[in-house]
């Protein structure tokens, strides 16, 4: 598929082949992402960062990705102020921002905002998170990290643990992993388990995930342990939160049961889901995962803007 001029709204819009194409290009980007090599295929192009919500990391990683490829970045987030204070619609804001840049990176609190923006923008829109909606670049960098660390995602035993109910990102990740032929295990207390319709969707892809509330039970044959944050706000009772948070805290004692080549991932920032002692083990891949956000976003920018590597 030719990604030139395409919007990146939801991971569901792409087939496995298309995703692999982006992951392949991300691989090519690695030496340029860490500064070993320099190339400016997007020289003279402008990226507009339109963030209606603070998200320093995502914004900066898009900025870094664009600069690495020679593009300029303008932060048009102040535009969001007029739309909020003067009641301008997102549609109008997008039509304005569209005239300032060649690609729009949008973060917005409302679900479906990126789809709407893509409708009104002539230039491509990249969804950097829309409310509880999707966050495709996170999913892509997660897939990229697994493929890079493990060679292939097919047949991997992947354990997702934590809040599997509310995070839409973890739903699209699970869905994409099923598409890639992974074997999935969902570890969460019943109240935070993967929603039924996601499980059904995954089932349609020929994957029948295991569900459990006990991490110890399933850690021994895992290839990937993907840890997500459990938010305090989800629990009416603080004691209940403490109990659940404690149950899923990953530390070296817990990892003693694991395969030696198990990798531990986390979208960051972590609170105390993963003990700092784990950072020094070869299992810890969450900082590499964070770095992978750069080559993946470079690949997307390059592809939608038609840059030649």
């Amino acid at each position: 598929m030719d990604f030139y001029d395409k919007d990146i709204v939801s991971i569901r819009d792409f087939t496995r082949d298309e995703i692999e194409q982006i992951l392949d290009l991300s691989e090519v980007m690695i030496p340029y992402a860490n500064g070993d090599k320099v190339k400016r295929p997007l020289d003279g192009r402008i990226l507009g960062n339109l963030f209606f919500e603070p998200s320093t990391r995502t914004k900066l990683s898009f900025e870094s990705a664009a600069l690495r490829l020679g593009a300029e970045v303008i932060d048009v987030s102040q535009m969001s102020m007029t739309s909020i204070s003067k009641g301008e619609t997102l549609a109008d804001t997008i039509r304005m921002v569209d005239t300032y840049c060649d690609v729009i990176v949008l973060r917005h609190p409302h679900e479906g905002a990126a789809r709407l923006a893509a409708k009104f923008s002539i230039n491509p829109v990249i969804n950097a998170g829309d409310g509880a909606g999707s966050h495709p670049t996170q999913t892509l960098l997660d897939l990229f990290t697994m493929r890079r660390e493990k060679g292939s995602i097919d047949g991997l035993n992947i354990v997702l643990v934590g809040d599997l109910k509310y995070g839409r990102t973890v739903h699209s990740l699970a869905d994409a992993l099923a598409m890639f032929g992974a074997r999935l295990t969902f570890v969460a207390p019943e109240s935070l388990q993967m929603p039924e319709d996601t499980v059904r969707h995954i089932g349609e892809r020929g994957c029948s995930p295991r569900k459990t509330d006990c991490l110890e039970e399933v850690i021994d044959d895992a290839d990937v342990l993907y840890v997500t944050r459990i938010q305090k706000e989800r629990f009416p009772d603080p004691d209940e939160y403490q109990k659940v948070a404690g149950m899923y805290r990953v530390d070296n004692a817990m990892l003693r049961e694991a395969k030696s080549d198990l990798i531990v991932m986390h979208p960051l920032p972590r609170i105390d889901e993963i003990a700092p002692e784990v950072d020094r083990t070869p299992h810890a891949k969450y900082f590499d995962q964070a770095f992978n956000g750069i080559p993946v976003r470079m690949a997307l920018l390059c592809a939608v803007l038609g840059g030649k590597m």
Binding site: S10, R12, T89, L90, A91, H108, P109, H110, E111, G112, A113, R115, L116, K119, D130, G131, A132, G133, S134, D197
Partner: protein, 153 residues
């Protein structure tokens, strides 16, 4: 024997083969309320259906023919309904409602955080992901529309 539970009408529309229990929602689509009844409307709830084994609801509206948008909305909650137009006691036209694969307008997204509920200049859009019962998925936020009848426009 042809059993007429409701007296024949001279002119008007019969909405037949409504999924049993949906008649009240169809009335809502017709815009029927205490201050808006221009003609006689007869409603039969849970009557034996000859065609399908089972039960159906039937509504007969005198002196009114339905516009296409109304027919499309009926399809969202009663996809097997038949619209029979009666002129001078005879069946002048008869057709099935048709549930499209993609719906524009007609209903609002039930997700309050959906961008389509925030005053943007777009009509809600849905993909029909299941036909019996009709299940709609918002093209913007990807959520399944809960209780279609409560969210009709």
């Amino acid at each position: 024997m042809k059993e007429f539970k409701i007296a024949p009408i001279r002119n008007g529309t019969v909405i037949d083969h409504i999924a049993a229990g949906q008649a009240l929602n169809v009335l809502k689509i017709l815009g029927v309320n205490e201050s808006n009844i221009g003609s006689t409307i007869s409603v039969a709830i849970r009557v034996q259906s000859k065609k399908e084994m089972g039960w159906k609801d039937v509504i007969k509206v005198e002196d009114r023919e339905l516009d296409p948008a109304t027919v499309d909305k009926i399809a969202l909650i009663a996809p097997d309904a038949t619209i029979v137009i009666i002129r001078d006691y005879y069946i002048a036209e008869k057709f099935n409602v048709a549930l499209a694969d993609h719906i524009t307008g007609l209903a609002r997204c039930s997700n309050p955080d959906c961008i389509t509920n925030k005053g943007e200049p777009v009509e809600p859009e849905f993909d029909v992901v299941n036909r019996r019962p009709p299940t709609l998925k918002c093209s913007y936020c990807d959520r399944i529309l809960t209780r279609i009848s409560d969210n009709l426009l």
